[in-house]
Structure formats: structure tokens, C-alpha cells
Assembly symmetry: C2
Homo-oligomer: 186 residues x 2
Amino acid sequence: MDTKTALLESAERLARQRGFDAFSYADLSKEVGIRKASIHHHFPTKADLAAELMIRYRESFMASLDDIARTEPTAGAQLTAYFARYKAAMNGGAQVCLCVSFSVSVSSFDAPVVRQINRFHAESLAWLERLFELAQRDGSIVGVVDPAEDAQACLAVVEGAQLVARASGDLADFDAAIRTTVRRVV
Amino acid sequence: MDTKTALLESAERLARQRGFDAFSYADLSKEVGIRKASIHHHFPTKADLAAELMIRYRESFMASLDDIARTEPTAGAQLTAYFARYKAAMNGGAQVCLCVSFSVSVSSFDAPVVRQINRFHAESLAWLERLFELAQRDGSIVGVVDPAEDAQACLAVVEGAQLVARASGDLADFDAAIRTTVRRVV
DNA sequence: GTCTATAATATGATAGAC
DNA sequence: GTCTATCATATTATAGAC
């Protein structure tokens, strides 16, 4: 893995574990094994790092959602995979998704980063809305009245579930929070 | 208002707007109008401030929930008031609830503060579970199968709704996220 | 691309006068 | 209870050698 990628991986994990304002170039320096000054060659400012982190995260996450849509045949199976994707990314309760972390720190970012956060939400909602539309056709999720509203509720519940599980450090709290939604899968 | 209370109010707003690691004693100093050193008289360390912030927030929030339970006769009306309480506290999309903010920064806190965060969640869940039990009796919310599960989902959705609305700065996103739940109120 | 060295500023925190 | 003065350390960031 090249240095820049190693820095991004390290920064993403730290941001998701601690929050964006609770890690520094000094932390990255220790983890990756290059000097602080060298990090500025790859990311001149921390704002640049934030932008690249969020772009990479969004692209990677959306690619995995496309993967789910391609692999799982029913809406119910896709929803199950969607939750599993988030749960696996929580690292046992030690971190939240980058978008959750960045949403709380939104005042620390400039407009381009904020746009990326909102784009993450928008693309997630579009994917979920398509999922609930499919559910109306294939009947694999019960009680879908308005796919757009189910999508918005589903995104909120999966983000909130992470917060509760992060605070307790117990993934059982993540499962508990999504249970009423999971129960709707036939 | 005495100085200590002014400091708590200021710190709470800053923590909810920016995150706990993104405000300093210097910020408090400017807002309240006393020197940095004087703040340490009231809160020797920032950890002390965090603990007092979370205790005060939890007590105040739970008192307002008790208020809702005493005032609103039906479970449906109580749920509506619960959401309204959160929405009003978002200050037009400029901040989230202290518990959401602190949950992301959980690694910055010592055990007493983490306990307070989890106690906030536990007491919220107990209150919501009682609400959904009432709903089963008074029929003011449809589709309640397991009050504990509805409570867990409800807490997650209201926390996640804040994240989405904070990122966009638009309270319409908060309303959109809670809509499927609100629709269940008869 | 990475290093050493350094800058300018911010941080949480303490000592002691008033 | 608030102040001035100070501390040790951490922060983001830059200049210039290799």
C-alpha cells in the first residue's frame, strides 16, 4: 500500500473512532511511520485531508451498495445486507461510519466537505428509496407505503443505531435499534 | 445567572454545535467574559466540565420527559411532544442533542462521563418503552408489537434524524426522518 | 517523497496576587 | 472568585536540505 493510502486508512479509522477534531497529524505520523511534515506533502492542510477522506468514503460505500443491489435478488435480502455492511464497519462498537462522525463535526469543515456529507446522505436515500420501491413489487418487505419515507427513516435509524452502540461499545444495541425494521423483512 | 451556570450554558451550546473536542476554554472565556484561568476555578479540568455538562443535560432532559408524561394524556400526544422537544432543541439545524455529540466523542471521555451517556440512553429507552406500553392500552399509536423494540427504534431514529438535519442545516430533513413513526399516531 | 528545523499559535492547566 | 503571568505541550503549517 502506498503512503497516501496508508494515511487515508489511518485517518479514516481515527476520525471514526475519535472524531475529526480529536486526531492530529502527530497521530498519523506515529501510525504510518513518517514525519508530520511529510504528511503535508500528501495533504497540504487538514481540510484537504477531510475532503479526500469523505470523497473516498462515499465512493467506496456507494460501490458496496451497488454490489449489494447486484448480488442480492430481493429487497429484503438487500436491506439485510445493508445493515450488515454498517454493523461490520463498526469494528465491534469501537467506531461509527465516517458520515456520522463528520455530521457532528460539520462546523469544522468548509463547503466542499459539507457538500460531500450531504451527497453521501442523498445517494444513500436514493439507493434506499429504490430498494423500498423494489419491495413494493417483490413483496419482500411488508408495510411499505411510501418508499421515500421508508428510506429517510431507514437512514436515520441506521445512523442512530451506531451512536447508541458506539456509546455502549456493544453491538447488541445496534441490533436492537434496527430490529423493528428487520422484522419487516418477509 | 451565576458564572458557573453561564459557563455550562455556553459549553453546552458549543459542544452541541461543534463537538466536545472543537471548543476550548478560550472560547468559553470570550463568550462568558471571564479569563481562561478563572474557568478552572469552576471546572478544574475539561473532564470535570464534561461530567457536569452531561449530568445537567440528562437531569434536565428527563425532567422535561416527565413533564410530557404528566401533561399529555395519550401515548400518541406524548410521542409528538417528544419529537417536538428534540426538534426545538436543534436550534434550526445548527446543533444536535448533547448525547448525540458526546456519543461520537466517547473516546475523549473518562468512565464517569461515558456512564452518564449510557444512562441518558437507558432512561430514554425506559421512558419510551413505558410510552409504547401505554399506546398498547390506549390505542393512540398503531402497530405496537413489542414496546421495548419500538423504544429502541424510536431513540435511534430521533438521534439519526438530528445527524441528517445537522449536516444539511435543514429541519425538514428531521421531519422527513421521523415521518413514518409520526404516521403511526392515530 | 521524506527529512530536520522551525515557526506561530492554541491548548489545558497551575501559581500566586488581589 | 477573578485576575496576571506563566508553563509544558500540542497544533497546523512552512522552508529548505537531501
